[in-house]
Symmetry: C2
Amino acid sequence: MPRNQQILLDNRPQGEATASNFKLVATDTPALQDGQVLVRHHYLSLDPYMRGRMNESKSYAASQPLGEVMIGGTVGEVVESRHPKYAPGDKVAGMGGWQEYSVVDAGQPGVLRKVDTTHVPLSHYLGAVGMPGVTAWYGLVKIIAPKAGETVVVSAATGAVGSAFAALAKARGCRVVGIAGGPDKCRYATGELGFDACIDYREHGDVKAMSGALKQACPDGIDGYFENVGGYILDAVLLRANAFARIALCGMIAGYDGQPLPLANPQLLLVNRIKLEGFIVSEHPEVWPEALKELGTLVGTGKLRPRESIAQGIAAAPEAFLGLLKGKNFGKQLVKLI
Amino acid sequence: MPRNQQILLDNRPQGEATASNFKLVATDTPALQDGQVLVRHHYLSLDPYMRGRMNESKSYAASQPLGEVMIGGTVGEVVESRHPKYAPGDKVAGMGGWQEYSVVDAGQPGVLRKVDTTHVPLSHYLGAVGMPGVTAWYGLVKIIAPKAGETVVVSAATGAVGSAFAALAKARGCRVVGIAGGPDKCRYATGELGFDACIDYREHGDVKAMSGALKQACPDGIDGYFENVGGYILDAVLLRANAFARIALCGMIAGYDGQPLPLANPQLLLVNRIKLEGFIVSEHPEVWPEALKELGTLVGTGKLRPRESIAQGIAAAPEAFLGLLKGKNFGKQLVKLI
């Protein structure tokens, strides 16, 4: 049985998360029982939601238990199988966690799915053609539901969710405006991801400056907003929102360390008859097939070419994750494990 | 032509509205032209939304122009008609404004509707079987959309909207909890309006106290909230909201004088995957027939017996309106004009 390096959550963050919250251990993978498969992970996905799981406090999902392998999406290859539907060599996506191997009860619905790497690189099943892509799809299609010609805005624009959002929104004839950190990301957003405009939040660090930048970038106002960050950016968006705007509330990364993030002027939600809806994509399994089909086609035809930031080796996962929380990644953050 | 006393908006409030913002004048009603009818108003409706119209600032509806008759719903009787569909003696509801008579171009769609006073008193067409009732209906049925057994909460519980909300929610098998100001209103809410519980906000003047009271009154949490006031009450409701709760945002009377009303913790909208939607009932004319039918039946069968606060004479309208904004009314605030 191969040796398996794993990263556990050792203790919970006090404020900002640090590398000392994690612990690297190694164990032998157990022998398979009937119905199980052994997957060797090629890539581990790092995503902002994981920060929420590290807290004890009530969050939208169960806390990550202490002393257990950190939760996380993985893609890899079946190396041993005692389940009739899987054979060694099959490429699969699942929730293997922060470790090199996982043993999966393959008969449980939804824990593992085979993926086709003919037109879509394996790693993209953790990004554009995986959970982040479906997240963008759900917020855009099911909550914002834009008409052609409408203006939609997304924060964290060059990340895995934001880049998929741009391609999906352009396919629907929208004007798409991104908000990202730094001139490089903004150039990438407009030059490669198809954004019509991108606002550098580092250059617009308060609600007044951001509101002014949004006015310029969205001359017809904002009809839809996909929220990943929270704080003053949401305040600024509300100042530029049109009547009947829709806001998909996906994340509030600015508040993950426990900072208060008051919304300055909720009256604007009433004044403009805005619909705001929080969601978690894993609670909407019914949309995944349709969403993944569209996303796979966008990637397969080159209309969505997401960038990846790749850290090497399981031991690099904590630092890569902490960098992601600070926006140091450029595109989808992965850890390569082989 | 009869003499017509009118109340104009003379100047805009600086902060709190005062009687000096209004001006009483008298004119002769003009001679009718073809297609017009002259309506003598029996009752004028006073509603919180009028305070928003008095401001210059961007609101969800056009500002009330200075020097013109204040906008407002009215019920009355046709006293002269040059329109084939109306005859003297017809009872009608419309938007006649703060005056004793109005001349109406009766052919315009939606400006006037005949009402049947066999089972429903004329004044109720300004309350339970009028705009406030339909407002409650829309927020409950179209936004909150409760299942039987769910818990729904409404602020300003004993007003025209709140009392209709209670009857409509009870008819759908909900637990209905009100928030109102003072022990008399709370007793009335539970004793006569059918609320299962009512919280006196004067006894629970901050978010911690209100949240504690909501916990007691809503042992299974809150599934739906109909918001009329804003401020700390909304913060407290969010602390007790269940996953997938829905919030119908109808009014934020606490902010009408320009006070900031920040929402302390918008992350709760995400954590609990809440849907929040602002609305104005006049923008949804398609629901009025269905809503008015249900509301008329509730009143006609005695299941909804709303209380009214009635001021006498057009000159009393400003003080009655200012009292409404402070919660001095008890039930639907009207001005009797005959």
